[in-house]
């Protein structure tokens, strides 16, 4: 039995439907992520799981029991708020002790478990400080310790890394993964950052306009986006208008705008004559100098470098094809001091194998 089952949940506000028929099952011990742009309904769904909002239709079941009518304070579910919501008048230790006090745990036990929880987030030496004396990352860890201290069945994290700077965010991602592994509590993580979702989650539900567009493991979501929205939202991708010309035994033959004939991997349900887009990730596209000597690939097209963006580890090149279509490709700057391989205006060849890319039906 799933730990949390969301059954066909609908939530409407005056003029729009925030959550529009979502069904999900979340398993024990999972690090599950709700990913989507702002307004996609992920926060509304989270508030319904926590108990601050109720579905208009459908039901939420925890361990097979309906959560209908159970107020937040009686659900074995805790939330880590985006703003951390630490009690400013209580010390770090008192903040962490709060849920234990509410559960009427005996004082000795409270003291022991607070120490344990603070040790797990490396904040023992800060226990007598007030929240305003802590840095953003430390507040974040106190909020985590407070949420986990009395072992909820489920911990909800509402964009908890949003307020941290980039470097700290990466460190916290590592800590979150390790913490979740150690404590074994099921996490539901809400974010609009696809990078965060890919790095942290066991499974991700990509949400858009109140619906789940795709539910999958990170690598499958990235490698096999089901539709245009998911392809576009997760990572960078080149999308070119395409028509299916033939469905062969082992591949699809497409007519792609600006490129011509392209071989792409087979996909169930695709038929000859369908229109849509051919999507291929920049890192799957090989970029070669015009006269380079390299084994021919299934798909090839010529173009000129229009522009490039030096990011550090890689440089992204924007290539313009003869008909004006633009494609992105990237090359790692592995040689020391190497910033770029091409200049704007250089003629280049783009190549990719028949195993990469995906056809997305309209």
């Amino acid at each position: 039995m799933a730990l949390l089952e969301i059954r066909n949940v609908v939530r409407r506000f005056a003029s729009f439907t925030a959550v529009d028929g979502v069904s999900l099952s979340i398993e024990v011990g999972e690090f599950f992520t709700l990913l989507g742009p702002s307004g996609c309904g992920k926060t509304t769904l989270l508030r319904m799981i926590a108990g601050f909002d109720a579905p208009d239709e459908g039901d939420l079941l925890l361990d097979g029991q309906s959560l209908r009518g159970i107020p937040p304070e009686q659900r074995p579910i805790h939330t880590v708020f985006q703003s951390y919501a630490l009690f400013p008048h209580l010390t770090v230790a008192e903040n962490v002790a709060f849920p234990l006090r509410m559960a009427k745990v005996v004082p000795d036990e409270i003291r022991r478990r607070v120490q344990e929880a603070l040790a797990s987030v490396h904040l023992l030496e800060k226990q007598k400080h007030l929240p305003h004396e802590l840095s953003g990352g430390q507040k974040q860890r106190v909020a985590l310790a407070r949420g986990l201290v009395n072992r909820p069945r489920l911990l909800l994290l509402d964009e908890p890394l949003g307020a941290l700077d980039a470097k700290l965010r990466e460190d916290m991602q590592m800590e979150l993964i390790n913490l979740q592994k150690t404590v074994g509590v099921t996490f539901i993580f809400v974010t609009h950052s696809q990078a965060e979702a890919l790095a942290l989650s066991h499974r991700i539900a990509v949400m858009n306009q109140g619906r789940v567009e795709q539910l999958d493991e990170p690598s499958r979501l990235y490698g096999f986006p089901r539709n245009r929205f998911v392809a576009d939202f997760i990572g960078k991708i080149n999308m070119l208008d395409a028509t299916v010309t033939a469905v062969a035994a082992d591949r699809l033959l497409l007519e792609v705008a600006g490129v011509g004939a392209v071989s792409a991997p087979l996909k169930a349900g695709v038929q000859s004559g369908q229109t849509g887009v051919f999507a291929v990730r920049p890192e799957q596209v090989q970029l070669l100098a015009e006269h380079a000597d390299a084994p021919a690939a299934a798909n090839e097209v010529r173009g000129r470098i229009l522009d490039f963006l030096y990011i550090g580890d890689v440089t992204t090149y924007l290539v313009q094809l003869s008909d004006g279509t633009r494609l992105e490709a990237l090359l790692p700057n592995s040689a020391p001091g190497r910033a770029k391989f091409f200049e704007a205006g250089d003629p280049v060849i783009l190549r990719w194998s028949a195993e990469v890319g995906v056809f997305l039906h309209e």
Binding site: F52, P71, Q74, F87, P88, H89, F98, M102
Partner: protein
């Protein structure tokens, strides 16, 4: 000569006039009063000269007699204690009535709050004395309120009571006049509370009762403290309300001081009482600050 930075000049130009005003009209009279408390009263009121001969029957020079007289008669200490007690009761009553009101305003939709605050301070738009006279009418023996209460008392065989000219009436008047001074700082405090904190408390298992006592109330203590100061201190010095609503036994420090200046015309004794009052208030404020500090240190 050192050059003055433009910022320094600006600071003095801006803060100069109010500083000068306070020096002239607050500090100077206070010092005059301190001096007066060590002098003798003039034969026809006012003060006897410090140097040189006074009128026949006048003592001149400086004296501690006023202070000695205060401590020689327990009557004054008793009036001080009674005033402190009434101020304390009025302050507590204000807290009990202002808190729910301030909370209601702070949790109302934003567009209604300004109107509600306006209603709270609306009584200030009419004259204070007129409002106290209105209270006299309301509490009067022939009025519905007194008749009802005495009717109920009579039914149980009790003697009728007088609402007006009693300590009760004094406290009612004090609370009525000072309530807005408690509501406003409390509202200002409660309005700033982050509602997410209550969500977090609820999420972590706190009932409505716990959410109030463990989150809202402790966070509102600064509001309660400033409101209490704004009520307690004026109530302690108030003379008009005990004059109008109190009975003959409801003499408070304020009345005592007023009588020294306007009735007995013993300015030195009045000044001394006034200084004693200031000392008591400052001592209480210091004590409260010390307690607040200890609580904060204790938390660490």
């Amino acid at each position: 000569m050192s050059k003055l930075a433009p910022a320094t000049i600006t600071r003095w130009v801006v803060s100069g006039p109010p500083t000068l005003f306070m020096l002239l009209f607050f500090l100077a009279p206070s010092l005059i009063m301190v001096l007066a408390s060590f002098r003798y009263p003039g034969a026809f009121g006012g003060l006897a000269p410090v140097f040189g001969g006074g009128r026949p029957g006048e003592d001149t020079g400086l004296t501690l007699e006023n202070y000695q007289f205060f401590f020689s008669d327990l009557l004054y200490t008793e009036i001080f204690l009674k005033s402190l007690l009434i101020a304390l009761i009025s302050t507590l009553a204000c807290i009990l009535m202002a808190y729910p009101l301030a909370l209601l305003i702070a949790r109302s939709p934003k567009r209604h709050r300004d109107l509600m605050v306006l209603l709270v301070i609306l009584p200030f738009a009419s004259n204070f004395l007129i409002r106290v006279y209105a209270l006299m009418i309301l509490l009067g023996p022939q009025q519905a309120l007194a008749s009802t209460i005495n009717g109920v008392l009579a039914a149980f065989g009790c003697a009728p009571v007088s609402l007006l000219f009693s300590t009760f009436a004094v406290v009612v008047g004090m609370v009525y006049v000072h309530l807005p001074f408690m509501v406003l700082p409390l509202y200002t405090n409660l309005e700033k509370h982050d509602p997410t904190l209550l969500d977090a408390a609820q999420d972590l298992g706190a009932s409505a009762w716990s959410r109030f006592w463990r989150v809202t109330f402790p966070l509102s203590l600064p509001g309660i403290f400033s409101g209490s100061a704004l009520v307690f201190i004026p109530v302690l010095g108030m003379f008009a309300i005990p004059d109008l609503l109190g009975g003959t036994r409801d003499i408070l420090i304020g009345n005592l001081i007023k009588d020294q200046f306007l009735g007995t015309r013993d300015w030195p004794f009045g000044s001394m009482l006034s200084i004693m009052l200031t000392v008591v208030v400052l001592a209480l404020a210091g004590l409260a600050a010390r307690l607040g500090q200890r609580k904060r240190d204790g938390g660490n």
